[in-house]
Symmetry: C2
Subunit: 200 residues, 2 copies
DNA sequence: CTCTTGCGAATGAACGGTCATTCCAAATTA
DNA sequence: TAATTTGGAATGACCGTTCATTCGCAAGAG
């Protein structure tokens, strides 16, 4: 009895936070920020409305925390099995297909970040991402390398990103909404098309 | 006096409507739907809050009406100087550059449709656009033609649209937000890159 | 072991503010 | 004057956040 109770308590403690996060993620993804009032998040998570404020300072804090985590997941996924020493093309195609596969496997995550990007948060976030102390992540470095090797058209990073990631995210949304039906072959075709847009 | 008054009345009548539309367009574009309450729209338009409801059934009606008009403007602009009998590539490049040039000239219109697309309205609208009785507009026909002539990669229309228009809209947003600086030469480069994505 | 006590976690009704929409008195027009 | 349009206060619904209260459990007392 003792141990069981302790376990339950420990779990409950962590669980509450997770339950809130999951509920908020789902509601925002499915209904947008308007359709995700704190009361509804609390109900869906099975906790009291006030309880959320024991774990998060306010709604913004909750939302930003979820976004940060989801974005980290994206990077993790793109880096899984990343052919570090392969040619640029292989590395980029890996990133593209890994991202698309992840996004259609986790539709809620995609819908959430889309909601986030198209909100007051979004602009600030993008601004910091573009101007914030010269990009040190693996993906930016890959693009820089391709530019130096004159593999890519000589365009700014922001434009190259739009050419590559823009359509990929669009087709994931269309897939999730049931407008198109992606399979592995089709994903490779589209990622290849995005590569063609970048290639000199 | 009679004529003047009549003119004034006629103008006033149309003017009020136009003022409301312009105010709503600006507020939604700049602040999103959250930042555009009816009271603020009324104030910006210089009319009473209730007056709006003499011209529009409700907020949805107002928003949809604006969207429809803005979208029509887009099509108009893309069709201006459209090289009806030119090769597919020339026609598509015309559409792309005309669209981009218009969007960065009318930032409010772009921001408005982006807000619209990322809202409950957006999904319904896109669904109807994709499934709604096989596309009869000039642009869809152009894409169909390119498919038949095996100029394009054999992909669904929705995907081809994403490959071409997705990045163009992205770069317009980045330009408007001051993240990049588009000029005519750069626009042509990017439109060309989007063409490369489509080309077999 | 039983009972009491103390305390942090959890709760949800209540608050202040904002929103879309309504409604009617006042203004304008005919 | 009669009819129509206008303005903006009033309305009611809803939201994020708060806070007085309750709850559950572990430690201490007997």
């Amino acid at each position: 009895m003792d141990k069981t109770e302790k376990c339950e308590k420990a779990e409950k403690c962590c669980d509450k936070r997770e339950l809130i996060i999951q509920a908020a993620l789902e509601l925002v993804a499915e209904q947008g920020f308007h359709g995700a009032p704190m009361a509804m998040i609390a109900e869906k998570a099975g906790v009291g409305a006030g309880t959320i404020y024991r774990y998060f300072e306010n709604k913004d804090d909750l939302i930003r925390w979820i976004y940060k985590n989801v974005e980290e997941r994206f990077v993790e996924v793109m880096m899984q099995g990343y052919p570090e020493n392969g040619p640029v093309r292989e590395r980029l195609l890996h990133i593209g297909t890994a991202l698309v596969r992840h996004l259609i496997r986790e539709p809620l995550q995609l819908r959430f970040v889309e909601q986030f990007h198209n909100s007051p948060y979004g602009v600030d976030h993008r601004r910091e991402k573009i101007f914030g102390e010269g990009r040190k992540d693996v993906i930016s470095e890959l693009f820089q390398e391709a530019l130096q090797q004159q593999i890519f058209k000589p365009l700014e990073l922001a434009i190259l990103f739009s050419l590559f990631f823009g359509p990929l995210i669009d087709i994931c949304r269309d897939h999730i909404l049931g407008f198109i039906k992606l399979d592995d072959a089709l994903i490779e075709q589209v990622v290849g098309a995005c590569w063609d847009a970048l290639r000199r």
